[in-house]
Amino acid sequence: MLTTFHARSIRELSPKDRSRQECILAYGEKLLVGLNNGTLRIYRVSNPTTPTEPIDIECLREVEGFTKRPINQMGCIKESSIIVILADSYVSTYDMATYEKLETLSKTRGATLFALTSGVERDIAGVPSVVSRLAVVVKRKLLLYLWKDGEFHDSNEITLLSQPRSLTWAAEGKLCAGLSSSFAMVDVNTEVVEDIPMAGGGGGAGGYLSWSTRNPLATRLGDDELLLVRDSTSMYISSRGDPLESKQIPWTHAPDQLGYSYPFLVSLHPHHTLQIRNPDTQNLLQTITLPGATLLHTPQHNHALSHAGKQFYLASPTQIWKMVLVDYGTQVKELTTKGEYDEAISILEQIEQALFVEKEERIKEIQMLKAEKLFSMGKFRDSMDLFAKVAAPPARVIRLYPPAVAGEISNQIVEEPAEEPPQDKASQSEENGSPTEETKQNGEGEDKSSPTEEQAPGTPPKENGNHPSTPDVAAPRSSYFGIPARLKLSSAAAADDTASIKSGRSGKGDSEAAAPPSATATPPPAAQAILPPPPTNRLEGKVLKLAVQGLVSYLVEMRRKLLKYVKPDMDPDALGESAIAPGPETVLAFGDAPSKSAAIDFSEVAALLPPSRHGGEMSVKEQLENLMEMAKLIDTTLLRSYMFTNSSLVGPLVRVENFCDPEVVHEKLVETGRFKELVDYLANKKLHDKALVLLKSFGDREDPDDREPDLHGPQATVTYLQKLHADQLPLIFEYSTWVLHKDPKLGMEVFVDDTPQVESLPRDKVLDFLKSIDVKLGVRYAEHLVHELKDDSPDYHNWLIEGYLTIMKEHKEPGEDGWQWKLSSAERDEYGQKVLKFTEDSHQYWPEKVIKWLPKDDPTFYEIRASILSRLGEHRQALEIFVFRMQDFSKAEAYCNRIHQLSPPASDPAETSTETVYSILLSLYLNPPSNYEVQMPPALDLLSRHGARVDPLESLRLIPESIKVADLGNYFENRIRHSNSRVNMNRVMAQLYKSEAFRWEELNAEAKKKAVAIGEERVCPVCHKRLGKSVISVFPDGQVVHYGCANRLAGRKGMAVKEEPVDLGLRRGFGTDRWSSASGNTGGWR
């Protein structure tokens, strides 16, 4: 059971004193006690700062005959310095300083109860002001008063169903009245009364006793909640009266009185038992029995400061106890020590940050403790979800696992010696023991008045079994990650007495305990609580697997959070200043630091960031470094975890952005023979040369390596190289070499694949490289450039020819069979054909350059040479090759045909004197150089077939006289027919042109025939004036406008007005063809 309050007896009437205490009121340091004889005693009570500090109480004054009858109820409005008293059936006001009566509210005659409130309210105009209200119960009536200008003004009266037996102010202007059978929420402004239905009969016997004689009880809980109690049934409502989630308080006895002492619910039960509960969990925290106590006085609710009254009073007719709060830190620590984490968290959550500065840190810390407990119970998923929820520092979570997962931060590395049993006696008694010193105001009755504290039934058993619970001084000074400095205890030391081990572990803490508290080096309280969790039973086998699966989900979640801020290739140095937003959603906020750079908003990972080591704000750089360090731990552990539970995820992890420790990755992957993943990892980290060396060692070998047979051969290297960009060119060259030698075709894929990366490689360099390995590779590449990529650079076209020729000219080793070339004749021919075709097709090579490379006397190159000569326009030389060297007349003729087709003479050759290819050929046949014979039959053949394409005069001149005319018959016939056909053709054309001309004339005439009638009334549609006798324009669609307006209408119609002026001679004229429609052919225009 927790100690939340100490009951300190501050006043006890001596046995001789016959008077009895009837009513108390406390505010500030004052304590007012009303006695049964009408005397009012006023005390000043000091506020102890610790539960054991002596409490001074001093009787300031005693006003005898303050009231005629005993006081029934007291209240005060501090803002107005008045005390409100109900006595003798009247409510009266008194001056707070002088205790003189100010006024008796005469209408309150018969009053049984009142309730006061003061707080900020807004008037109709929304102007806030402090308003104090008083509600008085007189029979079934509620009398309402408003404090104004130093006195109460009655505002209104509301009559209820029955007489209220309790009265509690809820929200501003709302009053909760406990009636005989229900509660009602009264709106004092609108006078609306709403019944609050209450689920009948909570625990136990209450069920049918709905006419209970017990008073209905109500109290505010904090700012916007109320608790209603009837018998043992409880109900939470909002301050506006709406029922909240139904939670029952497990009372064993129905309470007699109820109150709220921030943040606890206190209730006084029969037999003078006080219960202190957490209103959120309903758990009983403490029970105190105070002999004879009948009066519970909790501080009046204060709107402005709900935590204003943390202390409350209890009184019996003869004794008063001040309930002194144990500070929250101690309470939370006590709960934590007992493993009651939920309770501790719940209480912390109800306390305002201002009252408990490290609230958030402490909640987080306790949640981590809870997660650790869940972990030790084997609830791994729950544990990890909780760790993830509070963003626990990764090291703290990871160390729960054995080294196979956690690496060297595992807390299972070192066998921890059994630790000394709990605990620091001194602190224990300080926390739990009853106060040893009490002020002896009254000197007597010490023993019988000292409070007894009992354990509530049903509290969870203590958790800490054989593990020491959190010792408050044994905080290992740890690095931020909460890792205790790794313990390296020799066995001798371990055998030594445990105390020394403990001091060895926590030297710092001990010395602090010994030394007087000094201002320096107080470890932050959060750190104090961080202790290595109880070394859980070893995780093994299936259980360990489950535990690791839980860990994975935590790590993945944390990883996701961190990746918003840090990237593996980030340089915190650079970032510290320039403050580049790492993620799209990262908000740039201006830090209060004077530095000009904007700070990164770390709010989402703030929980992860350690407190700064030197007080002030951490620099962005430090924060980033911290996060990166953490990310490294997370990813490395994730890798190990995958190895352990789900190795198929190793690949994905090493391929995505990750912070894995390279050494661990290397070690783990090699250990398990995952070289493919290792390659992926290296690639991801841009360690391409390492990756490629690895690939080569697996690929370039006789037999596959058993560990990774898939990597055998060049394919993996090729795939890898294809993904590299141009900036890695030297690497690409270096590591493609072995592949090109081993499998040239596959190796070429590195350079000819159609991916953007490959296509981005600098072509000239690649060509040079491939040439240097093998001309054939160069040729293959050049072919790729020219044919597939349609590269027009002359260099590649020239080189392709050069490459072909180089291959063709390659000599064989001085030879057996007398064959001179390396290539077989068939192969040479094949290349010859390629070159020939290329020289004919390509227009990009430089013929004058290329022709020099051709051997003159090798017949293989004759045709190629001819083709190049043709490109140079040297048709005579080209034809000489066909006619004289090759004596292939059909090829000569084909050559002529091709040239003729490429550039047919513009007009009839008969009329020009230009020499055609045919005449060149003819002249070669008929008029050869001296050492060649005249070739008559091919000449005649040529003439008969292409005679028309040769200038007749020229050909006749060439034909030797010895030729018989009969042999030329074909030629002439052909020639004449050709001429005739031209004549006829021209006649037909002439006729056609004539009829075309006629057609146009007709069209013209028709257009001119069109007329428009202009009457007196006809107006121009543009300017709306009469056309009268002005010069007009007629549009093709019949619209008539002024000549001057034509442009405007034309613009609207999207037409253009022709430049030439209209026929001005025609007034009332005809439409002319001034118009040409934009679309060229508008209707009605023919």
Partner: protein, 216 residues
């Protein structure tokens, strides 16, 4: 938690709930594909998806009625905004790229890897992915990723089914999702068969062990 769900599903016996997640760079047409499939609608205006959203559709797979829950995501933020919970229990992941956008193709691999990490499926190698090359209706000249290369990628990742679709013209969308449903169902059944270690507590192990015992 998921084991309870499964028991429920088993009892109904015809009704399976399949969770399908669509991933890919932003603008590739994830939302459009989903809309085309579920609502038979296409909108040419681009509205960036915010956070994550899902649509459901009931389909028959081999006579079994299956409810497909298709989760659409906001591509640009990568995996950083959606928690692990979002990916837990996925039965199939659809990787979408735009055939006219080389980059969207190149990121497929890391979408796949990140998904695997976030979802932590028991056996990453057999987890069903379906690859979709979208927007094939766009002018041929603009195409950047040849079908051949996409298919080679799918092959290298373990013969992933590949579809070329147009959400705009409703080409192949139906077919792609049919295969997605089929694979998701197979995955769901496989998961069920092997028992779910996902909701793991010590107590669960016991239960699992018992069930295994009975089944034999």
């Amino acid at each position: 938690m998921s084991s309870r769900k499964k028991v429920l599903l088993k009892n109904k016996n015809s009704d399976y709930k399949l969770k399908v997640i669509i991933l890919g760079d932003s603008g590739v047409g994830k939302t459009s594909l989903m809309n085309q499939y579920v609502n038979k609608k296409f909108s040419a205006s681009y509205k960036a998806t915010i956070g994550a959203d899902f649509l459901t559709k009931e389909v028959l797979v081999d006579d079994r009625l299956v409810t497909m829950q298709i989760w659409d995501t906001a591509g640009q933020e990568r995996f950083q905004s959606l928690g692990v919970a979002f990916y837990r229990g996925a039965d199939c992941c659809v990787l979408v790229y735009d055939v006219n956008n080389q980059k969207s193709f190149e990121t497929l691999d890391s979408w796949r890897d990140e998904f695997l990490i976030q979802a932590s499926p028991r056996d990453a190698d057999s987890f069903p992915f379906v690859v979709i090359g979208n927007k094939i209706d766009v002018d041929d000249g603009k195409r950047q990723v040849p079908q051949k290369r996409a298919m080679a990628f799918c092959q290298s990742k373990g013969s992933l089914p590949y579809f070329e679709t147009s959400a705009k013209e409703a080409i192949n969308v139906e077919q792609a999702f049919e295969v997605i449903a089929r694979h998701a169902l197979a995955q769901e059944e496989a998961e069920e068969y092997s028992g779910d270690f996902g909701a793991s507590t010590i107590v669960d192990i016991g239960a699992d062990a018992d069930r295994d015992g009975c089944a034999c």
